[in-house]
C-alpha cells in the first residue's frame, strides 16, 4: 500500500498539496514545542533547557517505530522509502560545519522558518545567511566536489552495519534515548533557568 506516491495511489500534484499539509503539521509541532525561540534551542548546549533532545529523539523514535510496525503489518514497503545515502567525509564535515552554525546562529533551517512565522527577526537574519551559504556552496562547487563525493558507502542502515535485526536495533535505540532523557531531566534541575 505505502508509500502512496510510489504505488501511484495519489497523483504528483496531490503529493505536492500533501507536502503543504505535512508542512503545516511540521511547523505547528515545532512552534508549539518552543522551537521558535533561539535561546530555548541553544539551551540544549548549556543544559538549562533540553527540549531539543527530548523532542528530536522522541520524534525519531516515533517515526522509526511507526515505520517498523507499518512494515510488519504490510502497510508500507520499506524498499521504496528514501534512505539517505552515506558519504562519510561530507557527512562528518557538513555536520561539524552545521554544528558551528547552530551554536552561533541559534537556529537550524527548519526552526528558523518556524521562528520567522511568528515574527522573530533574528530568524530572518539567519535565513539571509542560509541563502548566502548555499550560494557560496553552489558557486564554488568545483572546489569541494571532491570532498562532497568522497567515501561513498551506498545506503547502509545502522542495523546492517552492526548485523542486528531492525527491531533489536530499534529497541537498543529506545533504551539509549531513555537514558539521554534521564540525563536531560537531571541537567535541567542542575542548571535551572527561566523559560524563554
Amino acid at each position: 500500500m505505502g508509500p502512496l506516491i510510489v504505488n501511484e495511489i495519489i497523483s504528483p500534484n496531490a503529493n505536492l498539496f500533501i507536502a503543504f499539509l505535512i508542512g503545516i503539521g511540521f511547523g505547528f509541532a515545532l512552534e508549539s514545542s518552543g522551537f521558535s525561540s533561539s535561546r530555548k534551542l541553544a539551551g540544549m548546549f548549556y543544559g538549562y533547557d533540553t527540549t531539543v533532545l527530548k523532542v528530536f529523539f522522541t520524534a525519531a523514535l516515533t517515526a522509526m517505530l511507526g515505520l517498523l510496525f507499518f512494515s510488519l503489518f504490510g502497510w508500507i514497503d520499506l524498499d521504496f522509502v528514501y534512505i539517505n545515502p552515506t558519504y562519510l567525509t561530507s557527512a562528518i564535515l557538513g555536520g561539524a560545519i552545521m554544528g558551528a552554525g547552530f551554536i552561533m546562529g541559534g537556529f537550524c533551517p527548519g526552526t528558523a522558518f518556524c521562528a520567522i512565522s511568528i515574527g522573530k527577526l533574528d530568524a530572518l537574519a539567519f535565513i539571509g545567511g542560509l541563502v548566502l551559504g548555499i550560494l557560496f556552496f553552489t558557486e564554488g562547487y568545483p572546489m569541494w566536489e571532491g570532498i562532497y563525493k568522497a567515501n561513498f558507502l551506498g545506503t547502509p542502515t545502522m542495523n546492517d552495519i552492526i548485523d542486528l535485526p531492525r527491531g533489536v536495533f530499534a529497541l537498543g535505540m529506545i533504551l539509549v534515548a531513555f537514558a539521554m532523557f534521564w540525563v536531560g531531566e537531571w541537567a535541567e534541575k542542575k542548571f535551572p533557568r527561566e523559560e524563554y
Binding site: 511547523g27 516515533t62 539567519f126 548555499i134
Partner: protein, 174 residues
Amino acid sequence: MNEVKKTKYINPYIGGVLLGIVLLAANFISGRGLGASGAVKSAVVSTVNVVAPTHVENATFYKAYRQSHPGNPMHSWLVFEMLGVLVGGFLSGAFAKRLKFKVEHSPKITSKRRIIFAVMGGILFGFGSQLGRGCTSGSALSGMAVLSVGGFITMTFIFGTAFALAYFFRKNWI
C-alpha cells in the same frame, strides 16, 4: 509576575510524538522524510536562473542540478512543505499569543551582535547543509528515522560540534 513570564509550550515528549507522526506520514504518503534546507536551495537555484541564465547553463553545480531536477525548481515537495511550515508555525504562534516582531537575545548582548551572529551562523549552516546533503531535518532527523548511517553520523557531528563550541559562545545565550 513569574506566571506571566512563563511561556506555554506543550510537553516536549508530546511535541516529539506529534513531530514523529508528521514524519511518519511523510514517509507513508510520499516515501520520503522532512526537510528544510532543500527548499532554500530551490529558491537559490531559481533566483540564479533568472539573474544569470547563461551561468546556470555552464556552471558545474547548476548543470548537474538541472539534469537531476527537470522542470521548475520551485515546483518541489520541499518548497510546498516549507510554505506549510510558515502557515503551521504562524497558527501555533497565533493560538498561543506569541506573534510579535522582535530580535531575541541574551540581555548581555545587543540586538546588533545577535543579528551579526545569526547571519554568520546561517552562512555556516547553509554551506554545511549542502555539503552534508541535508540539515537537521532532512539528514539528521529523517535519516535517523530510516536508520541511515549517514543520518546518524551527521546528527552526531551537528550536536557534538555545537556542544564542543558552546563554551566560546556562552555570552550570546546565557
